[in-house]
Symmetry: C2
Subunit: 125 residues, 2 copies
């Protein structure tokens, strides 16, 4: 095959849409950073989400097998513990590798752009 090597150079097919959505990226990053799990309230607080929004995204992530949710009691009060699953951790790390590539490409492009901007007659920032 002699396919042009630039085909899809900026396609980022590995940016898993399930993880890339902003609220779910917040939830998963919080859960990866708290491997023992987080209560619903703490997670809501860290992600700046409403109850309804967090519930909806947790359901999507649970149905996809990325997050495990255990409902129980803490000092006689209902308590929901959310944890990232082994599959969730694996997919998050795969996603992260692509995100790092985007940041590298973008940072390189932005630097190049700063070099070229004066030649295009734009005022420096």
């Amino acid at each position: 095959m002699d396919e042009d090597p630039s085909t899809g150079r900026f396609a980022y097919a590995g940016l898993d849409r399930l993880i890339h959505e902003r609220a779910r990226l917040s939830v998963l990053t919080s859960l990866v950073a708290h491997a023992k799990g987080l209560g619903f309230g703490d997670l809501k607080h860290l992600c700046g989400l409403t109850d309804g929004n967090l519930s909806r995204h947790l359901q999507v992530l649970q149905e996809a097998g990325l997050v495990e949710i255990a409902k129980g009691y803490d000092r006689n009060r209902p308590h929901t513990l959310c944890r990232i699953s082994a599959e969730g951790r694996r997919r998050y790390l795969d996603y992260l590798a692509v995100l790092e590539q985007v940041v590298r490409d973008a940072a390189a492009a932005a630097r190049q752009d700063l070099v070229e901007a004066p030649r295009r007659g734009l005022a420096p920032a």
Copy 2:
């Protein structure tokens, strides 16, 4: 104010939804990397998008003022040149700063997770 400093720690409110959407992130990264602009065909090729998908996302970006589209002729054939606008470049760089923070948080969390995993009794990868 004595607001808990962890409020919204992982919210990433600066992840501009207009730019974060995967196809539009591809388009804008391609255009930042090619400051002189790209023809429709080259852009489609770099982003791995169909004609319809690219047209739709370009329209969204143009209406938001992030991209400029010039229709003209190149050797008597219709040619569409797409360029990122000054406003688009500014918003892309703001977005990139937040994306870099996500990657730093995520990489730190993933490292922490690797340290803690054996203590949770999980088999090492």
